[in-house]
Symmetry: C2
Subunit: 559 residues, 2 copies
C-alpha cells in the first residue's frame, strides 16, 4: 500500500460500528426457530440434504452462550464476480475470530474455490487485512468461478479442510456459490468432518434475496456508482439538449440494478426484463415504444433523454431468444461451422446461415442491424454458443430506433434530430470502495459468520435483518441455506439450487416505478445522486437503497 491514495488512507482508518447485540460475546445466546417457520416442506430437498434440512433459522440474542468462545481455525473464500465489501467480510470475520480467541487463525483460499481444491492458502494476518479494510476489490486473496459440485471436488475440498484442520469455512458468493456451500455442508457432515460451512450473500446483481435475505452485499455500492454516472449523464443531457443516452446496466438474469437506478435517477424510460418477458414484448414493440417516446418528446421541443437498459434484455425478447437457441444448435454442427467459416465475405455467411434457420428466425435475423448480426455470428464460445453478454443490446436498440425514426420522418410524423450515445456501466461498479452501508453490512456479516461457526452451526447463511434501521439495532443470525433452495431444471436435470430472485412485478419497488414513469417520460425529473460520500451529513453518507426501503415497508422484520 505504498502508493495508497489519500482517500484510501482515510478509509483504512474507518472502523465500522457493530450491531449492539455483538458488542459483548460473553452474553450472546442463540434463539432458534423451527424449520417450519420458514417454508413448506420440499421433499426432494429434504431427501438430498438429510443432515442439514431439518434446521431452523437462528437469531443471536442476549443470553447464555451456547458454546464458549473457542480457538478456531477458519478458511475463507471469495467466489464469483467482485462485489464491494468483500474485504470487509473478511475483516469482520478476522476481528470476530480474534475476539473469540486471540489464538484463532484465518486462512484465505487464493483465486476462489480453485484455491480450496488445490489447497492454496494465505494466512490473513493483522498486517495484511489492515491494508484492505473498507476498500473495494477482491484482490487481497483473489476470486474465481470454479464450482465445487461433483464428488471429486467435494472429496478434494474435504481433504483440504482436513489438512488445514479447519473448524469452519466461509464461502462468500452468489446463488450458485451458496448452492455449492449447501452441498459441502451436507457432504462434510456425512463424512464426519468437523468443518462447518457458512455462506455470505454476495452479488451486485441483487438477485440473491428473499424473505430471509433483505439484500445481498455490493448491490448498494454498485448501484450508487452507476447512479452517480447516470445522474451526470442526465445533467449533461439536460444542459446540451441534443443527446439521447442509452445506458446498459449490468445484471443479466434480473433487472434489480436497472430498477434501483431508475428509482433514484428517474430516467425517461427504463426497461425491466421481467416485465418484458411477462408481456412477451418483441423487439419491434420495444422499438416502437422508444421511438414514440422520442417522437413525443421531440414535439415538446426535447431532443434529449436518458434510457436505462438491463444487460440481460435481449434474452427476454421471445423472438431473439428463439433465434439465439436456433443459432446455437446450428453452429454446434461441425459441417455448418465449416461451411460458414470458409466464406470470406460476411454477407455470404449471413445468407448461408439464414438458409438454415426457421422462416421466423431467418426473418428476425435478416432484420437485425448489421453489427448485431456480426456479434451473433462471431461472438461464439468454443462450443459454438452465442455469447449473449457480448451482444451490444444498447447499440441494437439505437439501430432499430434510428431506422424507425427515419420511417416516421419520411411520413412526416417525426421532425426531430436523433443523436444517440451508448454506454455500458458494469465493471466500474464491481470493485468500487464500498458505501457506508456496504462497509457496515459486510463487516457485520463477516463477524456473524465467525459466531455461527463458533456456535457449531453448518449449512447456514449469515443473515442480518432490520437493515433500514441504524446498524446498532440490526438483528443478527443465520438461515439454513436449504431453506432458500428449490428444485430447478439445469442442463436437462432437476437439481436443487438457491433460488434467484427476479424483480417482483407485484412488489412495492416495481409498483413505485409504474406509478411514476409516465411523468418521468415527459417531464425531466432527473435525480442527481452524485458520488458516494464517506464523511459528512448522515442523510448523505447513510443513504440506503430505495428498493430496500420500499420492500421493508411492505414486509415486517422477523421477531
Amino acid at each position: 500500500m505504498n502508493h495508497a491514495s489519500p482517500l484510501e488512507l482515510s478509509r483504512l482508518r474507518y472502523q465500522p460500528p457493530l450491531p449492539r447485540i455483538l458488542l459483548s460475546l460473553e452474553h450472546l445466546g442463540l434463539r432458534a426457530s423451527s424449520p417450519s417457520e420458514l417454508k413448506e416442506g420440499c421433499e426432494s430437498i429434504k431427501q438430498l440434504f438429510p443432515r442439514t434440512y431439518n434446521q431452523g433459522p437462528i437469531l443471536f440474542a442476549a443470553g447464555e452462550p451456547e458454546a464458549k468462545s473457542a480457538r478456531l481455525r477458519v478458511g475463507v473464500v471469495l467466489s464469483g464476480g467482485q462485489a464491494p465489501g468483500g474485504h470487509n467480510v473478511i475483516a469482520g470475520l478476522y476481528d470476530a475470530l480474534k475476539e473469540l480467541h486471540p489464538g484463532s487463525t484465518l486462512l484465505g483460499f487464493r483465486g476462489g474455490p480453485a484455491g480450496i481444491l488445490k489447497n492454496e492458502t494465505i494466512e490473513i494476518t493483522a498486517a495484511l487485512i489492515d491494508n484492505y479494510r473498507n476498500l473495494g476489490g477482491f484482490d487481497m486473496i483473489g476470486s474465481g468461478r470454479t464450482k465445487i459440485e461433483g464428488q471429486e471436488q467435494l472429496l478434494a475440498s474435504l481433504a483440504t479442510a482436513d489438512r488445514c484442520a479447519l473448524d469452519g469455512l466461509v464461502i462468500i458468493g452468489g446463488d450458485d456459490s451458496n448452492t455449492n456451500a449447501a452441498h459441502l455442508a451436507e457432504f462434510f457432515l456425512s463424512a464426519g468432518s468437523k468443518t462447518r460451512i457458512v455462506g455470505v450473500p454476495k452479488t451486485i446483481d441483487g438477485d440473491l434475496k428473499s424473505r430471509e435475505i433483505e439484500i445481498s452485499f455490493g448491490h448498494d455500492t454498485a448501484c450508487k456508482v452507476y447512479n452517480e454516472l447516470i445522474g451526470n449523464l442526465m445533467r449533461d443531457a439536460l444542459s446540451a439538449r441534443k443527446y439521447y443516452h442509452f445506458v446498459k446496466l449490468m445484471g443479466r438474469s434480473a433487472s434489480h440494478i436497472a430498477l434501483e437506478c431508475a428509482l433514484k435517477t428517474h430516467p425517461n424510460l427504463v426497461l425491466i426484463g421481467e416485465e418484458i418477458a411477462a408481456a412477451k414484448t418483441i423487439l419491434d414493440g420495444l422499438t416502437h415504444q422508444i421511438a414514440t417516446l422520442i417522437t413525443e418528446r421531440s414535439a415538446a421541443g426535447k431532443e434529449f433523454g436518458v434510457i436505462l437498459i438491463p444487460e440481460g434484455l435481449i434474452e427476454f425478447l421471445p423472438e431473439i431468444g428463439s433465434l439465439i437457441r436456433e443459432l446455437n444448435t446450428l453452429l454446434a454442427r461441425e459441417e455448418i461451422r465449416t461451411e460458414v467459416d470458409r466464406l470470406s465475405h460476411i454477407d455470404e455467411r449471413i445468407s448461408v446461415l439464414c438458409g438454415h434457420l426457421s422462416p421466423d428466425s431467418a426473418l428476425c435475423f435478416a432484420r437485425l442491424p448489421y453489427t448485431t448480426q456480426a456479434e451473433l455470428l462471431f461472438e461464439r464460445d468454443p462450443h459454438g454458443n452465442v455469447q449473449v453478454s457480448k451482444i451490444a443490446t444498447e447499440q441494437l436498440l439505437i439501430a432499430t430506433v434510428t431506422h424507425e425514426l427515419a420511417k416516421r420522418a419520411a411520413a412526416g410524423i417525426y421532425r426531430g434530430s436523433f443523436h444517440p450515445v451508448h454506454h455500458f456501466f458494469g465493471y466500474e461498479g464491481r470493485s468500487a470502495m464500498p458505501s457506508q452501508f456496504d462497509c457496515q453490512y459486510t463487516y457485520a456479516l463477516g463477524y456473524t459468520s465467525a459466531l455461527l461457526i463458533n456456535a457449531h452451526l453448518t449449512g447456514y447463511m449469515a443473515t442480518i435483518h432490520n437493515l433500514t434501521q441504524p446498524c446498532d439495532v440490526w438483528q443478527v443470525g443465520g438461515t439454513p441455506i436449504t431453506a432458500l433452495m428449490q428444485m430447478e431444471e439445469r442442463k436437462g436435470k432437476r437439481v436443487p439450487v438457491v433460488k434467484k430472485a427476479l424483480v417482483d412485478l407485484q412488489g412495492p419497488a416495481f409498483k413505485t416505478l409504474v406509478r411514476n414513469r409516465a411523468r418521468w417520460a415527459k417531464d425531466d425529473l432527473f435525480g442527481y445522486p452524485g458520488p458516494i460520500q464517506f464523511t459528512g451529513p448522515q442523510e448523505v453518507v447513510g443513504e440506503l437503497p430505495l428498493t430496500l426501503i420500499l420492500e421493508s415497508q411492505g414486509a415486517g422484520t422477523i421477531a
Copy 2:
C-alpha cells in the same frame, strides 16, 4: 429543486471561500504590467486588434480602487461543451455584482451564444442561482456551439448589448469562444459600445492553458470522475485477473486528460497523441507495442491490464489521417457518393471505394477491421466528412491487437488468453458536481470577471495564479486575450486564434510519465483515487491535479 438529492442539498449550502484580496473591495486596487511583459509583438494580431492589443496583464492588489463600485448590468453566456463549475462562475459573478452594488443586474443568455444573437435572456435572481450553487451541468441557462464570427453576428451581438444596456458581457468558454470574445471586444470598442467583454477559461480537455492560465476549469473534476472509474476498473482487473480494459478518454485535440489520469492511476500503458504524432507512429507500430506488453505480462502470469487511449488518437496516426482526408475528398464528390450508396452489400461498397483510393490508403483501409471500415463509410456528416469522434478507436485497437496476438500464438510466442473490454469515459465527467478545487476556482473566476468589468477593462480573460496554494493567497487578475493569440491556418485562411495548448513533451508532467511508465507496464502499481469527496480530511477533499502541481514546480508565479 423539489427532488434534489441529499448530496445536492448539502452542496447547495457550501460557500466557497474567496482569495483574501477579494474580501474588501473598498481597498482593491489594480497593478498593470506593460504588454511587452507577456509576449513578443505579433504584427498581424496587432493590426487585427488595434484597440485591444496594447494592453498588459493586470493584477488586483491592495490599494486605491481604479473605479468606484458601480451599479452594473452584465450578461453572461455559457459556450460549448459542459464543464463542472460553470454554475459557480455565474454564482461568483452574481455575488460580486451584488457586492459592488445591490442594484446590479445579471442576465443569462439562453442556450449559448445563439441566445445573444436572438436576445434571449433570463434574469439571474438570488432564488435562481441558489438552486445551482456548487452543482454540475450548464442547465440553468443552457449552452450551445453557435459561433459569433462574421460581421452579421457581431452586429447582432452589438444590438443585443445595446438593447440590454449591458456594461459587460462574460463569455465562459474554450479557445474558440475566447477567440470570439476577443473579436467582440475589439468590435464593440470600434463601435463605441460601453459593453466590456471578459472571457473565462473553460474546458475539461485542459488545452486552454498557457503561462497566464494555469488551468482551465472543469478539467480537475472531469479527470477525477474518470480516475474514480479507471481506479475501479484497475481494482477489478487485479481481482479478476482475466480482463484487459481499453479505456478511451475524452479529449480530441490534446491528450491532457489521458496524461493527468495516467499520473494518478498508473495504467499499464497510456497513449499520448502528441508523442505518437512526434514519433510518426503508425497503427502497426502501436499494435505491436500493445501486443508486446500483453505478451510480456502473460509470460509473467498476468492476463489482465488497463490501457488508456485519448479520444483523438486516430487522427494522430499518419496513415489513418491520410486515409481520412482521402475519404473526405472522395465522398465529397456527388458521383462517388451515388455510386457507393446504390450498392446494397457493404463488401461491395468497400471494394468500390478502395478502387478510388491511393494504393497506400487502399491498403490501409483494406487492413482495418470490419467495424472500423463501416464507421469510416457510414459515420459521415452531411458534407461527406468522416466523423472522427464516432470512430471507436478503442475497439479498433482491440481488433488489431487480437489479430496480432493470434499470429503470435500461432508462432508459439504468446500462450495467454486475451479478454478485452472497451470503455469510453467522456460525457460522464462533463456535468459532474465540481470538486472543491473547481468550486473555489470557478467562484473566484466569476467574482474576478465582475471586478474586471467594474474596472472598465475589455478583451480580458479572468485569470488566477498561485493555484497550488490555498485559495486564500491566490493572485487574481486578468490577461488580454490577444496576448494568448497567434495566427493559424483555418480552412485555408490565416486567422487569429487563441492558441490550443498541446501536451508539452519537454514538460514536467510528461517527463514524470516517461520516468515511471516502464514500471507501471510490468508491476501493477495501480492507483485507486475513489469518488470525489466534498467533506472530510483536506488532503482528500483538496487534492489538486498532479499536472498542475508538477507544472507549478517548474514555473514560478507572476510577480
